[in-house]
Symmetry: C2
Subunit: 227 residues, 2 copies
């Protein structure tokens, strides 16, 4: 359902060109659980932003469910981002002036369900990440790990068919990390696709396939032999 | 040189009171290397903000180098924050409109040295964290781990006698994490005090003493037996 063909992404800073992704080709099918690893600056978040339709490549083709993303209208893209994809960002990207509850309710706004139903679903999601007692807090009234969990709850509330999680456990203790990975595994079991960027080998071992990046390219792409 | 006596910090959110720190007492002497661990929300960053003179306690006394911090003037506090303490924040807190180089130069502004000297020292610091080729990038033109390294370089440029590092390796691959911990160990060896908040046991094992927090209190405080 995800196909990259020769995807490149270059950034221009002053006179220099940063080649963040260099002709990356990749196929991810339905219901895969993929971990992406690699050194700092190797292009992981850049790849995730393109996968999540938040950034466009400099060159190459991205087919999502057999549709060429570059040919989609703005409405189609917005639809895909809101309904199909759940994104846990490396820097959380929560709305600073909204509470945890309001942040988690946000993706449901165009789903046509009532406000009270949106609220009870968001409360249930926050309960799954043990934040029932922090629902009325704004992001600056939360700890780093609590913000990360709100970002996770928000990404998962729409039951997206593709979850993109960029370092979802970087600020979490081992117990909470295991709980977040458990949530992702449950989503995988009911048929969805999970792509996790992580620096931690034991987080990567939850996945069935491990892709390692280096300098904007895929250096290796292998099954997880321990599963 | 650091003494907490019955330090409490309460936050008010609507009608509720969050007891982030509850009567914490603690002594840290010169040239210690301390790791602080504990679950998400247990009060670690709150404690670090008080240690760094960025937040004031609700109750209790904080003596820094035998001086009662609550009795210091604003000028004395600013002096301490700028000259004595280097802070690597959990969320980096870089200036978005300044380049990596400008961010790292910032703490030297009141040190009385020339701009060209400040610039060459900042360049050297960025070289120590392998970011010589990213000096002109702004924070949003950097990867997560690169921002974390800029935050580290900025915290260390003044050779502060106390380094407070709140999850300094959360976004870093193992190789870069080891390099950052190496920098902190060097600073420790030349006589300074290092306090690191971390969720990762192998990062904590670089320290000589491990304090574990739980629900706003210190649950345990022990020597690192592996050293
Ligand atoms: N400004 C604030 N207003 C209200 N509550 C706050 C505020 N800052 C922190 N808290 C609460 O105080 C508690 C401690 O927060 P703190 O940031 O110190 O935790 P932490 O140990 O650093 O957690 P983490 O490992 O997730 O970073 C948390 O439960 C948090 O919700
Ligand atoms: N907007 C931008 N402008 C210029 N350069 C950028 C931009 N975004 C990223 N880069 C550069 O592209 C490269 C890849 O960045 P990316 O964020 O994808 O790395 P990453 O693998 O996610 O790293 P990390 O593990 O540190 O999060 C980095 O060298 C970074 O400096
Ligand atoms: Mg990244
Ligand atoms: Mg914290």
């Amino acid at each position: 359902i995800i196909q990259f063909e020769g995807i490149s992404r270059f950034f221009h800073v002053g006179n220099e060109v940063v080649k963040a992704l260099r002709e990356v080709s990749l196929t991810i099918t339905d219901n895969e659980f993929v971990a992406i690893m690699g050194p700092s600056g190797s292009g992981k978040s850049t790849m995730m932003n393109i996968l999540g339709c938040l950034d466009t490549p400099t060159a190459g083709k991205y087919y999502l469910n057999n549709q060429d993303v570059s040919q989609m209208s703005d409405n189609e893209l917005a639809e895909v981002r809101n309904r199909e994809i759940g994104f846990i960002f490396q820097t959380f990207n929560l709305l600073q002036r909204s509470t945890a509850l309001e942040n988690v309710m946000l993706p449901l706004i165009y789903s046509g369900i009532s406000k009270s139903e949106r609220q009870s679903r968001a409360e249930a999601k926050l309960d799954e990440v043990q934040l029932s007692d922090r629902m009325k807090h704004k992001p600056n009234e939360l700890s780093g790990g609590q913000r990360q969990r709100v970002a996770a709850a928000r990404a998962l509330i729409n039951n997206p068919s593709i979850v993109l999680a960029d370092e979802p456990t970087g600020n979490l203790d081992s117990k909470t990390s295991i709980e977040i990975m458990g949530l992702l595994e449950n989503i995988h079991k009911i048929g969805n696709t999970i792509i996790v960027v992580t620096h931690e080998e034991d987080i990567a071992l939850h996945a069935h396939r491990i892709i390692r990046m280096l300098d904007g390219r895929i250096a290796s792409d292998e099954k997880n032999k321990t599963i």
